[in-house]
């Protein structure tokens, strides 16, 4: 029985000391803020489109920091998932979206149809639409992130998402096709 008492006493004393130490450290060395959120936010594409289920990129960054999945941002696509996986040192997962990655687009307002209702202006998270009430609106395509949030609110459906135009100068080299890709049969592979 004494052994029990000794044991309990010894470890309890030890623990009290440790508890006090940590209690002290918890106050003395408290750190504010959560830098990881900033880092995550820096990786997200800042399209502010809400497709991740959060109202904007920053809230999603906070959610990731709190443990949400990293594969919910369609505009960011695989690259963002990979970057997040690297940052957080977790396994990348395939994109959790119905259509997967999209080709880059910008909004285009068919001006002759626009009735100037300003609904799209209110919807655009980055103020990429110019115009005021009863005036025709146009999209500043260099500012538009292609989030398509303005499409739905438009009462006359005059906004469409157009693929970003390419020309000679935006033409880019593609990776050569791998040999096995050329000859490989199209059967479902072990891959």
């Amino acid at each position: 029985m004494t052994l029990v008492l000794i044991a309990v006493a010894a470890l309890t004393i030890l623990s009290i000391i440790f508890g006090a130490l940590l209690g002290f450290a918890a106050v003395r060395f408290r750190v504010e803020g959560n830098p990881i959120v900033e880092q995550i936010n820096a990786i997200l594409p800042q399209t502010q489109c809400g497709q991740c289920g959060y109202p904007g990129c920053r809230p999603y960054a906070e959610a990731i920091a709190a443990g949400d999945k990293i594969n919910k941002c369609p505009p960011g696509g695989e690259a963002t998932i990979q970057a997040l996986a690297d940052l957080l040192d977790i396994e990348p997962e395939p994109l959790d979206a119905v259509e997967g990655e999209k080709i880059p687009v910008v909004a285009y307002i068919r001006e002759e149809e626009c009735i100037g209702c300003t609904k799209c202006i209110q919807a655009c998270p980055v103020d990429a639409i110019l115009g005021s009430s009863r005036q025709m609106h146009t999209v500043i395509s260099s500012e538009c992130t292609g989030c398509d949030l303005c499409v739905e609110p438009c009462p006359v459906d005059c906004i469409e998402m157009r693929p970003i135009e390419t020309d000679l100068r935006s033409w880019k080299w593609q990776q050569p096709t791998r040999q096995y890709q050329i000859i490989a049969s199209d059967k479902e592979a072990l891959e």
Binding site: P176, T177, Q179, Y180
Partner: protein
């Protein structure tokens, strides 16, 4: 029309990977012949079995992955692996042992990592080590030269008739390891086949590999860095730790350079471009590492020959060596090497 334009350059030189592999196979010929002189059809059976198994396994795996089989096979690299493994295994190994060795080499050594060019470990040595640790008895039983009749050999390999004790024969390295009382002279003397430096079959085989290796060096299949570094390191180590006497002293430099698989390793194994370091500097370090490890394991470790383990151990280090031996790019102030916690 020009869906995927092809980039410059529009012309290339005549080198080709198939050609490289072919040369390596060709260069093993002297060693194969010498080996056959000593061990009869043993090496031939080994090599033939290895090639047959290797090609079938590779074809099978590639087709499992739904990739074009002919494309994967035509580089010939799997044949190099098979030939080298076949020459490294003891003659008259049972067929199933050969199968396990080459199977591990091709599957675990090569294709699980994505096939040619992507394997971190040397496939042939991987296969060798797998059977070495799994069947140490069979793997350390070398037949005494010119004792095994072909028919008995075939029966042993394919039907599993037991190995006659009379055939079995400790190699010099085994003896060095296990018998700490012989003089150097006695060490060599034990072997009745008159040789150049002394009298063991292993010298002749090593010389043959050296010949093939020099041919490859001449043909610029690889650079001198790795082989020279390895032989240098091995010679230096054995010189430092040699007290001039026999098996109690871990052997002389000449002894180490011409016993076991030294020359096979120096010219055919550590020169495998895929699994060694990439830059010349890196290859030199790689070779040094192999040489030092070979000596350490031979002299103080538990295994008689150490080429395979040393190569695998250095394969392990190769990416790290590459990481720390990046050259300084033109116009960069210093090479980007090592640990930079600041960046990211």
């Amino acid at each position: 029309m020009f869906l995927s334009p092809k980039s410059s350059p529009h012309t290339t030189n005549k080198s080709s990977t198939q050609n490289l592999m072919l040369r390596v196979i060709l260069a093993t010929l002297p060693a194969f012949l010498v080996s056959s002189y000593f061990f009869g059809i043993g090496p031939a059976i080994n090599v033939a079995l290895c090639i047959i198994f290797a090609v079938s396994i590779e074809a099978f795996i590639v087709s499992l992955r739904k990739r074009p089989v002919s494309y994967a096979l035509k580089d010939g690299s799997v044949i190099v692996t098979a030939v080298l493994l076949g020459l490294a295994l003891p003659p008259f190994s049972s067929w199933w042992l050969v199968l396990i060795a080459i199977g591990f080499a091709v599957i675990f050594g090569k294709h699980l990592f994505g096939g040619l060019g992507q394997n971190p470990f040397n496939p042939a040595m991987l296969g060798y080590v797998v059977v070495l640790v799994s069947f140490p008895v069979a793997m350390t039983s070398w037949p005494a030269p010119q004792t095994v009749a072909s028919s008995d050999a075939l029966a042993h390999v394919f039907l599993g008739t037991p190995w006659l004790d009379a055939w079995s024969h400790a190699t010099v390295l085994d003896t060095l390891k296990n018998n700490h009382s012989l003089t150097l002279h006695e060490l060599w003397q034990d072997y009745p086949y008159s040789g150049w430096i002394s009298s063991s079959s292993s010298e002749w085989i090593n010389l043959a590999f050296l010949l093939g290796g020099l041919y490859l060096l001449y043909k610029r299949v690889f650079t001198w860095h790795a082989p020279v570094a390895m032989l240098l390191a091995l010679a230096l180590m054995s010189l430092i730790f040699w007290n001039g006497s026999g098996s109690a002293s871990n052997g002389s430099p000449l002894f180490h350079l011409f016993s076991g698989a030294t020359m096979l390793g120096a010219f055919f194994i550590i020169t495998d471009p895929v699994s060694s370091a990439t830059s010349n500097q890196g290859r030199f370090i790689f070779g040094l590492g192999v040489g030092v490890l070979v000596y350490i394991i031979r002299a103080w470790g538990g295994y008689p020959d150490a080429i395979a383990f040393s190569v695998l151990l250095m394969n392990l280090c190769a990416p790290t060596i590459d990481y720390f031996t990046r050259p300084r790019t033109y116009g960069q102030r210093k090479a980007k090497r090592g640990f930079n916690p600041g960046d990211n």
